[in-house]
Symmetry: C2
DNA sequence: CCGGGGGATTTAGACGATTCAATCAGGGCT
DNA sequence: AGCCCTGATTGAATCGTCTAAATCCCCCGG
């Protein structure tokens, strides 16, 4: 009835449990005839290894945790894809957890993962300086920050967000915009504030640019739409003529709101998003966006983790940084005279 | 160095391991003073429960596997969201696995989940009659089919796909279309063929409708674009005037191809998708789509599973079926004379 | 014929948490 | 003083797998 254990397999094959274990782990040291008998027994009983027992014995599991801010965001699914591809090569399983930009959920997932004694954790944290992260590391779970730069003793994989902000800002300013909105949030999140710093820098260099900041709690389509309505309702005189949004979901929502409000994109409102998700190109007005190498990020993060797990001791933490690209499409392809 | 075990905690608190375990599991039977001492010890040592050991002892894990066809598809992330919400209430963890419509990957994930002795598996299988599924059940892992109807002894949660197909078909036919394309795939997948059956039925009833079928391997944006190009290249005389696509990703890709080819939607080509994902409404031309209650599906599936796990014995397998709705938007809002 | 060598197999002890039967310490009652 | 009861705590066995050390067996060489 219950799943058979190695013991039943051994009994049926007329050998000891040790031999069965050897067949499973070092088949070459077992005599061919015996090996065959054991394998037959395994098949006949439908034996399936118990990962919990292996894990307990080995002291380490074969799972890696990946905690992301929003699984529904294609950027993160791409990232997960990359991580999973590499994990597969290392005979490792990825457990994807969705924190939904909520520190409480994030904490809950971290607890679960630690209890499961995962090999390590890849995380896009709500707050990169969260003491829980370092505590985790101190207690022995390797952590790699994803899409965030680690300052202290951690590995991290990130994209130069300030550069991303500068790219978007420069593009909009050169297109003649003087009132620009930056929309993202929460500002406490490193990536959001870095992108802001980027665009702020170039705005200040240009001198005459009026940069308005709008904060949201969560970066989803719904929130983008809401901010869009709010901005569309401003008097045309003071209303920004361009918006840079900290991710594409926000941008898509924002774009919808423009359509509803009857504002033309890019004529009345230029839009630049971030991440360059697949849907950006398929939007009502194809969306300009700052592209990040999502899959590469995931792959790279997993690489660092595996390195740390295997080298254990003599491992130096590294910070890998990628460069973003600006992809200009119709939503910002209009030069103001 | 290594994570401390219950033994170190006990030693430091000057009690036996049994008492520590009691503090963790039935604190009320432990004398307050002792309890306090143990809790202090736990905190001081940074003790974290070892889930593998608990699991091994308990004989059952606290994880549920969810295997979906495509995590990048918002339909499935919504579904996962629903499942996770209920899991949380049952103090259970969901492990999301992405089969990418690939039976091999699917099999790999099933193996992993079984080795982990998960509580149960929720799956949108590539092939509902896959013998591996029933084998899994026979060996003791409860399985609930999601977005598929189970015939045999399994629980399932699904949406009436034939009805969905009929809704889309009727709508297009009543709008005056006589040449209609149905695009989806692989046709061997139950939901794809059910939707086809639905539209075929109403097309036959109408009598004069020419229904053309196009098969794809995977239902993603890229494939939709490819089929779109192919159809746009047909001579206008024989080219369908409407397309019903088996999911919204396909439809979005298809829509892009129309734009590129210079065909106007809905005038030259009406489009109806399936799933009504968030992006459908945000598309270049807002997409008509057959809506499925994704989150509800996930929740419901998890409900059935928990029921089966708890009732163990006297549990009757059930097939829950939801009704889809047709959401008409601009992409099909044009009546041919 | 005996000892030794080497390959094949077995044995036994972890790994960490849980649980239940057994023990223990006190207090109250006769 | 002796006894019992109760509530608190302990001890030991258990879950399934792995591995290092021990044992077994057979054959070969001296």
């Amino acid at each position: 009835m219950a799943t058979p254990s190695i013991k039943e397999v051994a009994h049926r094959a007329g050998v000891s449990v040790g031999t069965v274990s050897n067949v499973l782990n070092r088949p070459w040291i077992v005599a061919p005839a015996t090996r065959q008998r054991v394998q037959d027994s395994i098949r006949a009983l439908g034996f399936v290894r118990n990962e919990a027992a292996r894990h307990l014995r080995a002291g380490r599991s074969r799972t890696v945790g990946l905690v992301v801010l929003d699984v529904a965001n294609p950027f993160f699914t791409d990232l997960a894809e990359g991580a999973e591809a590499l994990a597969y090569e290392h005979d490792t399983v990825v457990m994807v957890c969705n924190s939904k930009t909520d520190p409480v959920r994030e904490g809950h997932h971290l607890d679960q993962l630690e209890q499961q004694r995962v090999l390590g954790i890849l995380i896009t944290p709500f707050d990169s300086n969260d003491p829980r992260l370092t505590a985790l590391v101190d207690r022995g779970t390797p952590v790699v920050l994803v899409d965030r730069t680690a300052d202290r003793g951690l590995c991290s994989v990130s994209v130069d967000d300030q550069l991303g902000g500068r790219l978007a800002g420069t593009h909009l300013i050169e297109s003649g915009h003087r009132r620009i909105a930056y929309i993202g949030g929460p500002f406490s999140m490193q990536q959001v504030s870095d992108r802001m710093t980027g665009i702020t820098t170039v705005a200040e260099q240009a001198g005459t640019v009026d940069l308005q900041l709008f904060e949201v709690d969560v970066m989803g389509v719904v929130e983008g739409r809401a901010i869009g309505e709010q901005i569309a309702a401003l008097p045309p005189r003071s209303r920004p003529t361009a918006a840079f949004l900290a991710n594409d979901l926000l941008a898509l929502g924002f774009l919808q709101a423009m359509a509803v409000a009857g504002l033309r994109v890019p004529r009345d409102m230029a839009i630049v998003g971030y991440d360059d998700i697949d849907f950006a190109r398929a939007a009502a007005v194809p969306l300009s966006s700052v592209r990040q190498p999502a899959e590469m990020l995931g792959r790279s993060a997993m690489e660092l983790l595996q390195e740390e797990v295997e080298a254990a001791d003599r491992h130096r933490h590294r910070q890998v940084i990628f460069q973003p690209d600006l992809i200009v499409r119709e939503s910002s392809a209009y030069k103001r005279s």
